[in-house]
């Protein structure tokens, strides 16, 4: 029993990261219908940036995260404006190629600026909590809590604010949203801005709890899209449920079935879900 609980706790941290990545991908997909492959690499850039601010410039960790977040907000606007807006009215293959090109560019920049060795954001958090036999390192607990907080904040933003509702409206019916007075030029900017900021948070979490290295971004974006398909394309609740399901499934698969095939098992679970619900866990048919 304790082992199962421990495995669920193990899976929650990476599941939270998956959710944050998937939230960014799913809102972008909802609004623009594009697969923003560069998202993982941009997230890693956020992690690298935080590392740089802490390790090289001596910023306190929280300040560094805040600065990286703000830069993420601006970066998101720039990505929408410079990369995706020019191909907004072209066929989807153009946006697809832009996304691939952007991925290579950001990966290249990361490599150029931050090198090839893995980078771990120093946190100095080394306490370990033991709750009834389930061990949780302090840092892991904070990551899970921060992810939960961001997920709640994102949900409230989308459900309770006018801008959030406009984002949903554009995703559901772009023309009708225009007729409601929604400026459909600024909404994608806002979406990219928020998505990138969430991605930066995910990058910081990966970078402090695990490590950032070349290739991690692409690995994360593949997981993010798996979550999207599992949860339902464009669905925000789907991203949340899908991310947690994938994270915990991976942990349980590695712990109870086979660590060599944990990704395979996770994808088999995904395929099984899609056979029963082709629209995803939370997608509307």
């Amino acid at each position: 029993m304790i082992e199962i609980l421990q495995q669920i706790v193990n899976g929650l941290a990476i599941g939270g990261v998956y959710v944050l990545i998937a939230l960014g991908l799913t809102t972008v997909f909802g609004i623009l219908g594009i697969a923003h492959f560069a998202h993982g690499s941009v997230s890693m850039f956020g992690g690298y940036l935080t590392f740089f601010l802490v390790a090289s410039l001596g910023f306190p960790l929280l300040l560094a995260i805040l600065v990286a977040l703000l830069i993420g907000l601006v970066l998101g606007v720039l990505i929408e404006w410079l990369a995706y807006r020019p191909v907004r009215n072209a066929s989807h293959i153009n946006a697809f190629i832009v996304a691939l090109g952007l991925t290579m560019m950001v990966e290249g920049l990361n490599l150029e600026f931050f090198g090839h060795e893995q980078v771990v954001i120093p946190t100095n958090l080394s306490r370990i909590f033991d709750i009834g036999g389930v061990t949780i390192p302090e840092l892991r607990l904070y990551v899970i809590m921060a992810a939960a907080l961001l997920i709640v904040a994102m949900t409230l933003f989308v459900e309770k604010t006018k801008t959030g509702q406009a984002i949903r409206a554009v995703a559901e019916n772009r023309d009708a949203a225009i007729l409601m007075g929604v400026n459909v030029k600024t909404i994608p900017m806002i979406v990219f801005s928020i998505s990138t900021a969430l991605g930066v948070c995910a990058g910081v979490m990966v970078g402090s709890l695990f490590a950032i290295a070349p290739g991690i971004g692409q690995w994360l974006v593949v997981k993010g899209f798996a979550v999207l398909i599992l949860g339902g394309l464009g669905s925000i609740p789907g991203a949340i449920v899908g991310g947690l399901v994938l994270g915990v499934t991976e942990a349980l698969a590695a712990g109870f079935i086979s660590s060599a095939y944990k990704d395979v098992i996770a994808f088999v679970v995904m395929i099984a879900v899609l056979l029963l619900r082709p629209q995803g866990l939370m997608g509307k048919s």
């Binding site: 006018k162 509702q165 406009a166 949903r168 409206a169 559901e172 019916n173 023309d175 009708a176 949203a177 225009i178 007729l179 409601m180 007075g181 929604v182 400026n183 459909v184 030029k185 509307k284």
Partner: protein, 233 residues
């Protein structure tokens, strides 16, 4: 209130509206009638900024709104209730209505919401249901109520009866009549010409991208060509 002069609209190299002029005065209900593809909907889309204007001028309350982007037209006070309802299917009825008030910042939105629920009791029943699960008639009522939530100065209805059962069409007509009684300025596009002409103070007949006839609703109802081609007696 709304004045259109020599409006031309093209899709690529093909011109579909060949320089039309029409006016809608404050408090009036004006109908655009004509066959499918005559250019009625393109005219509306051009007014609302959904398609670009290639020639001519659109003024609203004396202000030039030609080629203003869609959201700016809404801010200027024109709201369209689009063809095919176009509700946000996964959002609740309540959230659809709130989206209608997107451009407003006043604190009377809740009161207006109450008013709409009073006007359309079915929407109160369906308040927390996803709009996509409503029946066609219910969705039409929702779309109309949503348009009114913007407190527009000019409300445009694009084919409100399209695809609805005859009984519901009568409900929709009655609803528009009620809205008209509140003093709302209305521009109505309708293929159901009889319904449109009964509601309208004045009407324009479109044929192949041009206005071929105009007059009061009653005049057109009895005009021999209209009777022959559109009213089907």
């Amino acid at each position: 209130m709304l004045n259109i002069r020599d409006l031309k609209v093209s899709y690529g190299p093909i011109e579909v509206i060949h320089g039309i002029s029409l006016d809608v005065n404050e408090g009036e209900c004006v109908a655009l009638i004509g066959a499918n593809g005559a250019g009625k909907s393109s005219t509306l889309k051009a007014i609302c900024g959904l398609v670009p204007v290639s020639g001519g001028k659109v003024t609203f309350e004396g202000r030039d709104i030609t080629n203003l982007s869609g959201h700016a037209v809404v801010k200027a006070g024109i709201t369209m209730c689009p063809e095919g309802r176009q509700v946000f299917p996964q959002m609740s009825t309540l959230k659809n209505l709130r989206m209608g008030a997107y451009t407003r910042n006043d604190d009377e939105q809740d009161a207006d919401l109450e008013r709409m629920m009073g006007m359309f009791p079915i929407l109160r029943e369906r308040a927390h249901q996803a709009a996509g699960t409503l029946s066609g008639g219910e969705q039409e009522m929702l779309a109309i109520a949503r348009a009114l939530m913007a407190r527009p100065k000019l409300c445009i209805f694009d084919e409100p009866s399209l695809g609805l059962a005859p009984k519901i069409v009568a409900d929709v007509a009655a609803t528009i009549a009620r809205i008209k009684e509140t003093g709302m300025t209305i521009l109505l596009v309708e293929q159901n010409s009889l319904m449109a002409l009964r509601l309208a103070d004045r009407a324009y007949l479109f044929e192949a991208g041009e206005i071929v006839l105009s007059g009061t609703g009653e005049e057109l109802q009895s005009h021999p060509e209209v009777v022959k081609a559109y009213l089907g007696h």
